[in-house]
């Protein structure tokens, strides 16, 4: 390990970019142009830096790497701690990959208040990356909540017609969940006297406390994931957010919930996790089947993809709480895959929305006639979302189902049936928009995707295929950390069982 603070650099470089943009002065046009390019260059720089993380990352160890520590609030043992392991590192990359793509995607779509928009996005990137890197509960919470401010503004200022309602719904739902998590964090601090995550991962909390803490964390993460029945903010937020906002929302923000379950609930509160796993299964299965059915009935493309997100994230939560190597790895791959695929699908919708200013499915038909390249890209992502072998979606879903079968056959069967529904709504969407005869007059002049748009989709397609064809390069990264989580979990369960067995059969 080198001793320079790579993670802090990755986290705060976008913030520096935001500060740069803040001080841009001049004519309206110049400001907009400069803001766009500064934002793009800074986010690309961040991405390049984070690639260094990928290559220098030591596989096969569960330890936190690139760790940093600076004492922050001395009396309270709170430090600024950063570090990544196999679970958080891929998410850092996901965030840094999606941000420049979002900025590219907003290049022409955002025309008003470009400067503020770019600042909001770069601040958002800092918060997201910081959240995945944070190794102190308080620092984690600050980043976790800090995301709300830029996202609220992005939805509210640059969103669609019902943006105010959606922005508020998003904000209040998430806040209500997270303040309970805050109390849980305070309670953990009170119980143990530390907020240092690596140490807490080794600490055992009393079973009764675990239950309450688990529920408090659950309140926050379930809203973020989002799990049925608290998913209702998601379709609204997705539909009203500008394209890039939806991309980040689906691509990264939803992963915060899954990441939270994996980082906190499972390792720190293993006994409660075991007790409540069934709750997670039930809610997830409902999410998978119910939201898939709801997706079938949607008229609005973004809403359809939003509901599909809820279904896909349902698989993630099932995978995590199977606590098997395959299940958790599957959940991780599924999250990464969904991060890329749903982001891409929102961008796909964004492409035609920019041209026709409508997201309604009935506004489109037979696009393949005028937009063959577009149809091809749409197909790749649509199939990845369905889970076609060879794409990333397949790997994730397959592993999750393998994990689920080991633990609970009924859950696995129900989840698998959800996947069939998934294929149904995605193929149905694709048929209505792309195939058929082009009957709408105004579609006759629609243009196929431009070079800029191709440049956005190319890396996403590459990642989707890479993950689908050779998932090992991702699984290698996370395997050791996942195994560590599972060992920890089982050791904790065994330790809790120990005394009760001893009570049943006392040794003479």
């Amino acid at each position: 390990m080198s001793d320079w603070p790579l993670l802090s650099l990755i986290t705060f470089l976008p913030l520096l970019g935001a500060a740069f943009i803040f001080f841009i002065r001049g004519e309206q046009e110049d400001i907009a142009r400069n803001a766009r390019s500064v934002a793009l260059w800074f986010s690309l720089g961040t991405f390049v830096l984070s690639l260094w993380l990928w290559f220098s990352f030591e596989r096969g160890t569960a330890a936190f790497q690139w760790a940093e520590e600076v004492l922050w609030i001395p009396g309270f043992n709170i430090s600024y701690r950063m570090g990544v392991d196999g679970i958080s590192m891929p998410f850092v990359l996901l965030s840094t990959l999606l941000t420049p793509l979002c900025i590219l995607a907003s290049w022409e779509a955002i025309k008003v208040r470009v400067k503020e928009y770019m600042i909001a996005f770069l601040v958002l990137e800092t918060m997201m990356v910081g959240m995945f890197c944070a190794l102190d509960l308080v620092v984690f919470y600050i980043f976790f909540e800090g995301v709300l401010i830029p996202m609220f503004l992005i939805i509210g200022v640059w969103g669609g017609a019902r943006r105010v309602y959606s922005a508020f719904k998003f904000f209040l739902f998430t806040l209500a969940g997270s303040v309970l998590m805050l109390l849980a964090i305070l309670a953990i601090y009170f119980e143990t006297g530390i907020t240092d995550i690596p140490t807490l991962l080794e600490t055992r909390l009393p079973p009764e406390t675990q239950k309450w803490l688990w529920l408090a964390f659950f309140a926050s993460f379930a809203v973020k994931v989002p799990m049925w029945p608290v998913h209702t903010w998601l379709p609204d937020a997705h539909v009203e957010a500008p394209t890039a906002g939806s991309v980040i929302l689906a691509g990264v923000l939803l992963k915060m919930g899954g990441y939270g379950f994996l980082r906190f609930s499972l390792p720190m509160l293993p006994l409660a996790s075991a007790d409540f796993a069934i709750l997670i299964y039930v809610l997830s299965v409902v999410a998978v089947i119910y939201t898939s059915l709801v997706a079938l009935a949607q008229e609005d493309m973004k809403k359809l993809i939003a509901y599909s997100s809820v279904a896909h994230m349902g698989l993630v939560t099932v995978g995590i709480f199977t606590v098997t190597q395959q299940g958790i790895e599957g959940a991780m791959i599924q999250m990464l895959s969904h991060g890329v695929v749903s982001a891409a699908l929102f961008l796909i919708v964004g492409v035609i929305y920019d041209r026709m200013h409508s997201r309604l499915i009935e506004r489109y038909d037979g696009l393949v006639e005028r937009m063959p390249a577009y149809a091809l890209m749409f197909m790749v992502f649509m199939l990845a979302s369905v889970g076609l072998p060879g794409t990333s979606g397949f790997v994730g879903e397959f592993l999750v189902l393998v994990g689920a079968f080991q633990v609970n056959t009924a859950v696995a069967v129900l989840c698998a049936s959800g996947m069939v529904l998934g294929a149904a709504y995605m193929l149905y969407l694709y048929r209505r928009v792309i195939f058929g005869k082009m009957t709408k007059e105004d579609l006759r002049t629609i243009l196929d995707i431009s070079w800029r748009e191709k440049a956005i989709f190319a890396p996403l397609i590459a990642v989707v295929l890479w993950m689908g064809i050779y998932p090992m390069s991702f699984i290698d990264v996370m395997a050791a950390s996942v195994a560590n989580v599972i060992d920890n979990y089982e050791a904790a369960l065994a330790a809790a069982e120990g005394p009760s067995l001893a009570a049943l059969w006392p040794v003479e």
């Binding site: 922050w72 001395p74 919470y141 600050i142 980043f143 503004l153 509210g156 200022v157 309970l180 109390l183």
Partner: protein, 484 residues
């Protein structure tokens, strides 16, 4: 050694003398002296601030034990003086524009500040009352300072009548306490109660009744529910700089007083007063959150907001521990700065030279004055307690204390109220950014206000960097209170 030791009261003595000199100056120079007197007032406050910063940290008594200074009083006095100096400084433009520029205005504020310092340092029920009344009487007058305005006079009258009622309750409570404990001195009271506890005697009922009245009188001063009724009307009716003043320094002083009285002499009655504090804390948080939702006047909104904030501060008191007091101190420091910043923004709200105070008037500020809108956004998110802004840390430390003290239900109600509260703060952000401007607010805004707004909003963002020292200082302040 108990004696008439004036050195520890040096800042107060200086302030009292300076106030009288300034009064003379105003009287003899008459017309056109307001600006000079106001600037000198701010200078005097700054000097007093320095005197406190550079005074020794040790606990010291003066005036035969009526007056105490320690780390806690020093920290609180710094906050009071800072709040007073900033709010007086930013009132200049307003009083000149609104023809309120009489030299009595800053001088009265100076007297009120002196009263607050006396409150913070009170070590006896008598000196407590003296400080409180000096503060209150000055505040009644400046609330009604625009005597030709019906609203201002009404606010002043309302404040006076209800304030007199609360003072009455306070005095009644004090007399009960004196009657049943035999002393008004805080240390003597603590000894009596400790002796009761040591011999296993239940505290006498009369004493507890006295304590309840005392607490009711003090709760009025911090406008905690159910003694909050005056707050929205007075805030709305008073001239805006006075409202800013009311919402900042006196709140800090009164809260410091409550903390000292409860933790000091009545520390052994913790179980008795904890229930009361929990109830008024929950009431304030919940009412502050829900009642603010429907407000259309921004000053009324700020009134409910301050009721809510006082509820959060009382959460720290309900914990009754050193951690709780630390939380209170941190919260008050942040609240003060945040509040001054918000009022600086409100003072900038004018259209064609006429002050406006509807929330609606902020519509589209994001377009018409992006920097002010940004500052206001930061302040509002901070008020709502969203990290990484300063407001979050205040809530963090009080709720930490509540959890430590096992007050789980209180903590849960508190955070949920903060979500409801977030709604109305964020609504202001919504108006500024998500809607088109109806009538544009005047620009440019004065240099003092601009400085104030920039400074406070930067403080909210950069609090992260100074969190260590601020919390450390608060820790020392809290420790001072629990040392004796």
């Amino acid at each position: 050694m108990i004696s008439l030791d004036l050195t520890s009261a040096l800042p107060e003595v200086f302030l009292a003398c300076a106030a009288m000199v300034l009064l003379m100056l105003g009287v003899f120079r008459r017309a056109g002296s307001t600006r000079l007197v106001l600037v000198l007032t701010v200078v005097v406050l700054a000097v007093a601030l320095l005197l406190i910063v550079f005074s020794p940290d040790d606990r010291a008594l003066a005036f035969n034990g009526l007056f105490v200074t320690d780390n806690f009083t020093a920290y609180m006095k710094v906050l009071v003086l800072l709040g007073a100096a900033l709010t007086i400084g930013m009132s200049l433009g307003y009083i000149e524009r609104e023809q309120m520029d009489r030299f009595e205005f800053p001088v009265l504020m100076l007297f009120a500040t002196l009263g607050m310092l006396a409150m913070v340092s009170a070590n006896d029920l008598i000196s407590l009352y003296l400080g409180l009344e000096l503060q209150s009487l000055s505040l009644y007058v400046i609330t009604a300072f625009r005597r030709d305005s019906v609203r201002s006079s009404e606010a002043g009258l309302k404040y006076f009548v209800l304030g007199a009622l609360s003072s009455g309750m306070l005095l009644y409570g004090s007399s009960m306490v004196y009657g049943f404990a035999g002393s008004t001195n805080f240390e003597a009271l603590a000894e009596v109660l400790a002796a009761d506890l040591a011999f296993g005697r239940a505290p006498s009922l009369g004493l507890i009744v006295g304590l309840v009245f005392l607490l009711a009188g003090l709760a009025f001063k911090v406008s905690a529910v159910p003694f909050h009724m005056w707050t929205p009307d007075v805030y709305e009716g008073a001239p805006t700089p006075v409202t800013a003043f009311l919402a900042s320094a006196p709140k800090v002083a009164a809260m410091a007083l409550i903390v000292r009285v409860m933790v000091g002499p009545f520390g052994d009655l913790f179980e008795q007063w904890q229930q009361i504090v929990v109830v008024i804390s929950v009431g304030s948080m919940v009412l502050g959150a829900f009642a603010a939702i429907n407000q259309t006047n921004i000053k009324r909104l700020m009134a409910y907001s301050s009721i809510g904030h006082m509820g959060y501060v009382l959460v720290g008191l309900a914990a009754g521990t050193e951690a709780g007091v630390l939380g209170i101190v941190v919260y008050l420091a942040i609240y003060l700065i945040m509040n001054i910043g918000t009022f600086a923004c409100i003072l900038c709200m004018s259209q064609e030279g006429r002050m406006v105070e509807r929330i609606e008037d902020l519509k589209g500020l994001g377009k018409s004055n992006p920097l002010m809108a940004l500052a206001m956004t930061i302040l509002m998110f901070s008020m709502a307690g969203i990290p990484p802004l300063a407001g979050f840390f205040g809530k963090y430390f009080v709720f930490l204390a509540a959890i430590k003290a096992g007050l789980y239900a209180l903590a849960v109600i508190g955070v949920l109220a903060s979500v409801v509260g977030a709604f109305y703060y964020v609504r202001i952000v919504k108006l500024m950014y998500f809607e088109e401007p109806a009538e544009v607010l005047d620009r440019p805004i004065g240099a003092v206000l601009r400085l104030m707004i920039t400074g406070t909003s930067l403080a909210m963002v950069l609090f992260l960097l100074v969190a260590g020292p601020v919390v450390g200082g608060a820790g020392a302040a809290a420790a001072a209170l629990f040392a004796g």
